[in-house]
Symmetry: C2
Subunit: 456 residues, 2 copies
């Protein structure tokens, strides 16, 4: 492995050198020999001068193929188009798979977009224009229009003929979708079906029907779940009248899964983890907004504790346990939140009725609270030889854990209901809420038992 | 959507009813008409009596196909085998794709496994035995041996003939791997290549070479990254001598991605989020271990604060800010940790040299610390009309944030180096460490300025 990576590294350096030395022919030979993913990686590391040389040495078709393999964010890739002559950029776009091109063009400035669309063949331009309309993070925004469609009354040999002629353009040819004369999706055949049956078999006899499909406005997370469940390599997309409008390929589904997971993960951590830690200023700029928001939210807890300062000055031992109680309740809240968010992102059928879930979570919180509270009662009681203090800490912690567990479960559900993505901000929100209630619970209970632990 | 789900629900209930009524023929017709994923879902919801009826009504081949679509954990599926006669179980295993069968058999008791292997055809038994040897979470454990291999000196029409004859058994037929006479992997052709070239073309002329492959002992996360990068539908697996030993399909890669993401996410939250919240006792049992461990770790911070109780009783205002400082530093540590863990799970090439990363993270922490510290200096200074107190809180917070940021970055790297998965436990570990250092920093700085805020 390491050896091979080393070889690749040297090879890449050599190719860049060829480009620097303006050896167009040698560069072309070595560069085009790479897999498009490797071509794209190498391209992403070039500076502006070398990039513009690439545009001169490679045809728009070659650059278009390479752009299909690029891993950079679309908002970065769109800048490359601006470095090219418009006609060249349009030719690159023309060569790319439509879904990839549209992802990038969604970030183009209107003026540039108009230029590209005018320079493209009319049909292609219309296709892109239409795909640009679909809302982000829906099936429509993910799909490509390059698929193979056939008719039920064809036989296998004629279907294979059709696939053969479309194979060069279609992004995926392993499924052929069977449509009616008005383009309604009525079946699907796999290349496997076509190869394992006699050539004169009618498509109607071997097609799978009904077809699992997704509506064009389906949320991308639901689309990903379907592809996961059915182990598909692609899923067809239909409009409200069940007309076939596109397909979504598994590689784009993997991107969706990564995106959704990164969202949940970032939400829990209060930072965008897709950050590329290029330089410390950018990195801290990405982290500071959340850090400052959390600081302000934390100030609410601090000002609540402040109201009990008189109590603390009478019994300073109370101050020792504040962090432990808020911390443990916060942990319980985070656990409950994490389970709830994963639950929301699972398929619909897993969602239970609200009330039953609430009761379940209340009981879960109570059990966790009582066990943890008992543990700390013993620990503190023995440590401080003061079981009244142990009792106050224990009962406060049990109550705080129960409340935090329920909050961690209910708040994301409520956010989901009112249309806010619970993955984004509920982590810090739960912690603050849990801190506030924990402090309130703790000091109020402690106040009842004040005589037992005033400073001596 | 909702309508369709309702229809499915009714359909499923009807099928279960047919099974209860012992209407074998009608049951077979309706059940086998479902997609295997739906068959498996329905099967998973049956009780033992109805399951044993399924084994009677369906052939082992039909059950084997359905088991290929099952979503349950392999340790649960293996129990179904025990409900069947051994010869039937062996026939089910024989029908399943090898990788799926092996996943499940890895959880069989040795005695049962021996029975199944004896009842299987010798070749099949040897295949499964071999795959069972591969270490969990490596390419070998994920791969299947059902692939299509061809030779470089064949022409396209003979290759298609081979694919046709293997199509029924092979799990994936969209790639055909080109091997030498001693099974060395030397190239790959896609079905697309085969369909878009003339029938008499030699495979050697159209095959892609070199082939991207993974070693059989490669970590599953690295395999997933490769499939992601190259947008593959499958990736070939080779042994140390570059002999082709299997392929890994994209659906198994999606499972790996989900598993790895769930691991990272669960690690951050301190709970296994794959928990199915069936009942509150199980749910709390899953959460309590971490909660109690975190409680014990929190006790270390508490006992540290306890050592400053005398200081607190002199200046109770200090107690008010403990949570804010530990909390904010903890947030900074979690951010830094989350970024580091995501970084580790990205491809090798993104990993930077240790020292450079450390300096970067130190600067990031310093910037975040100074900005946040200045903010709290002003906030507290104005709120309490005491800028000395503000200064103490501000400087403590800035220091604590810097330390926590570095710890959040360095600790997972160290864990990774010594072979511990940093995703599992570093979240809580960082928080505790950050709490301890924050308390230490805060009270030591505060002690220097004690005269400015003793209780009046």
């Amino acid at each position: 492995m390491a050896d091979k990576q080393m070889q690749n590294l040297n090879k890449n350096e050599r190719i860049v050198q060829l480009l620097s030395d303006q050896k167009a022919k040698l560069f072309r030979r070595e560069y085009l020999d790479l897999h498009i993913h490797e071509q794209a990686q190498l391209f992403s590391d070039l500076d502006g001068t070398l990039r513009s040389r690439v545009y001169r040495y490679l045809s728009a078709e070659e650059v278009g193929d390479m752009f299909d393999g690029i891993e950079e964010e679309p908002e970065d890739v769109v800048r490359y188009f601006k470095e090219m002559p418009v006609s060249y950029a349009a030719a690159v776009i023309d060569e790319m798979y439509t879904d990839n091109a549209v992802d990038i063009l969604a970030y183009a400035q209107n003026k540039d977009l108009t230029h590209y669309l005018l320079a493209l063949p009319a049909e292609r331009s219309a296709e892109i224009r239409e795909l640009l309309h679909y809302e982000d993070k829906t099936a429509g925004a993910l799909m490509t229009t390059e698929y193979v469609d056939i008719y039920a009354d064809q036989d296998i040999s004629s279907a294979i003929q059709d696939i053969r002629s479309e194979a060069a353009d279609a992004e995926l040819i392993y499924y052929a979708y069977v449509v009616s004369s008005d383009n309604e999706l009525i079946g699907v055949v796999t290349l496997r079906d076509l190869l394992t049956n006699a050539e004169n078999t009618a498509i109607a006899d071997i097609m799978t029907n009904p077809v699992i499909s997704v509506p064009v406005d389906e949320d991308q997370a639901e689309v990903a779940q379907k592809v996961r469940d059915y182990n598909f390599v692609a899923v067809p997309v239909v409009d409200y009248a069940n007309k076939l409008v596109g397909i979504i390929n598994v590689d784009d589904i993997i991107d969706v899964i990564d995106e959704e997971n990164a969202g949940e993960y970032s939400g829990l951590a209060g930072v965008d983890t897709e950050e590329t830690p290029e330089n410390p200023f950018q990195a801290s700029l990405k982290r500071l907004p959340w850090l400052l928001i959390l600081l302000l939210m934390g100030m609410s807890t601090t000002s609540l504790i402040d109201r009990y300062e008189a109590l603390i000055s009478q019994a300073s031992i109370l101050a020792v346990f504040v962090s432990l109680i808020t911390g443990t309740a916060g942990n319980a809240g985070t656990q409950s939140l994490a389970v709830a968010i994963r639950g929301l992102s699972n398929s619909e059928e897993d969602r239970r009725s609200g009330l039953r879930m609430l009761v379940n979570e209340l009981l879960t919180g109570l059990i966790a609270g009582v066990v943890t509270g008992s543990a700390i009662f013993l620990l503190v009681g023995i440590w401080k030889s003061n079981f009244v203090l142990g009792f106050v800490i224990g009962i406060s912690m049990a109550t705080a854990i129960t409340v935090a567990t329920i909050a961690g479960n209910v708040i994301p559900l409520v956010m989901d209901k009112i249309g806010v993505d619970p993955a984004v901000a509920s982590g810090p929100f739960i912690s603050t809420l849990s801190d506030l209630t924990s402090v309130l619970i703790y000091f109020n209970i402690a106040h009842q038992f004040l005589n037992f632990f005033v400073n001596h």
